[in-house]
């Protein structure tokens, strides 16, 4: 299957925006995780191999500044890419509820996998990290993802 060029355009734009906000402007956690939004959007449009490849590449970029937990982002994003592509076979819907759940759960799952892979030494408490901080950032990413889908015209009619 060949995803439309527009999908790659949106993914590229989100990657640039992510590093522009997080790295160049130094906004940190106040900026949404646009890499995972890009991955989740693309994963619905590409096959499982490309989803995994994109996740691997984006995770590696995220890991460039992660000296002690290097590989944790790569591991998490690769699995999210695979999972995102697999959801196309399992869920066909494009309702607002489905898309919101997909984006929010995708981001939460990415944080959860990162939390597991980061290792015990760097791991903070599950309640604070996953139930509080990750839930908030997942909701944030979900809202931003819906906005991106709505304005990018990716063909997801319900949101538009």
């Amino acid at each position: 299957m060949r995803p439309p060029l527009r999908v790659w355009g949106v993914v590229g734009f989100l990657i640039l925006l992510h590093f522009g906000l997080h790295l160049s402007l130094g906004l940190g956690e106040s900026a949404p995780d646009l890499l995972v939004v890009a991955l989740l959007i693309a994963a619905r449009e590409v096959d499982i191999g490309r989803g995994a490849g994109l996740g691997f590449f984006l995770g590696l970029l995220d890991d460039a500044f992660s000296v002690l937990a290097f590989g944790a982002n790569t591991f998490a994003m690769t699995l999210v890419g695979i999972g995102g592509a697999r959801t196309r076979d399992l869920f066909v819907g494009d309702s607002l509820f489905f898309l919101t759940s997909y984006l929010v759960l995708g981001k939460w799952m990415r944080d959860f996998l990162h939390w597991i892979a980061a290792g015990e030494g760097l791991r903070e408490s599950f309640v604070d990290t996953m139930l509080v901080q990750s839930s908030i950032s997942a909701a944030y990413a979900g809202v931003v993802g819906l906005v991106v889908i709505a304005i990018s015209g990716l063909g997801w009619e319900t949101v538009r």
């Binding site: 299957m1 590093f19 522009g20 997080h22 790295l23 160049s24 402007l25 130094g26 906004l27 940190g28 956690e29 900026a31 995780d33 619905r44 449009e45 096959d47 499982i48 191999g49 490309r50 989803g51 995994a52 490849g53 996740g55 691997f56 995770g59 590696l60 970029l61 995220d62 890991d63 460039a64 500044f65 992660s66 000296v67 002690l68 937990a69 290097f70 590989g71 944790a72 982002n73 790569t74 591991f75 994003m77 690769t78 699995l79 890419g81 695979i82 592509a85 196309r88 076979d89 819907g93 898309l99 990162h114 892979a117 980061a118 030494g121 760097l122 408490s125 604070d128 997801w156 319900t158």
Partner: protein, 309 residues
Amino acid sequence: MPNYKSDANGSRRAQGGLVSSGFFVLSVIALCLPDPSQDEVASLLRGSLLRPFVLAQEGLVRRSIHAEGTEVLQGRLDSLEAVIANTNTLSEENDRLRGLLTLSNRNPAQYVAASVIRSGTPGSEGMFVLNKGTRDGVTNDSPVIMGRGLLGRVLEAQATRATAMDWTHPQFAVSTMTEDGSIYGMVEANPGRFREADRLLLDGVPFQEELEPGVALVTSGLGGVYPRGIPIGVVIEESDAQEGWKRSYWLRPFVSPGEATHANVLVSNDGELRDANSWSEGGAVVAGPATLPDETDSGTPDTEASTRR
């Protein structure tokens, strides 16, 4: 949402499964790579694909510093002038006394001013990048200091960049002592429930010794990473986390990592022993290096600020 698209071709499906399994295995390999290989990959990415973003942040930091109010900068300048004026007398006294004792001069500590860049990506908490590297004399384990005290240390120095950790990092630890050198201990990062609640814990103080709130602590020089005399923080209260015949104390660090946009890196002189005692000489903890970081970041030797002998 496009219509449901199924991969009709079974072989393509199997191929996709194989490719995804391959990437999964690669991601596990990336996770298990030895540290030097991980550092190499990370350095390569930082120096290539992510370099434009890092350069953009450097430019923005520089601009924001230039935009800082002149009144604030004038205030800092006045404070530094006062410090320098006091230090000159001490310096003369010191030289005279050393002459009387026929002691040779200390090696002067040299600082390289650097911009602090934070990536803000998951897993990089407690880490930052400096825009100075081995070409400027920065080496692995070089202490990083801000105006009022110790910020952290360099983990990995490259030619033009260095990756460093601040005191909130879980692996941060420094041997410390009171300013008079009478009580020693080990300071470690103690993560709070949230990043904002991170603080320092002084551990290993003998039970018979007691520290009052407000006592300032400096690096002891033991361990060979941090030179003696860099201010770390002040004692707030005794911690309940004491074990055996040891006491523990909570510290309020002099430096807040969130404020760090510029820092000084203490560099060695051709491998000779560094000396940061000028920070704490004269009784009270001195509030910073003798000269401000060069905010124009010209990359010339002017960026190096030497403390007095």
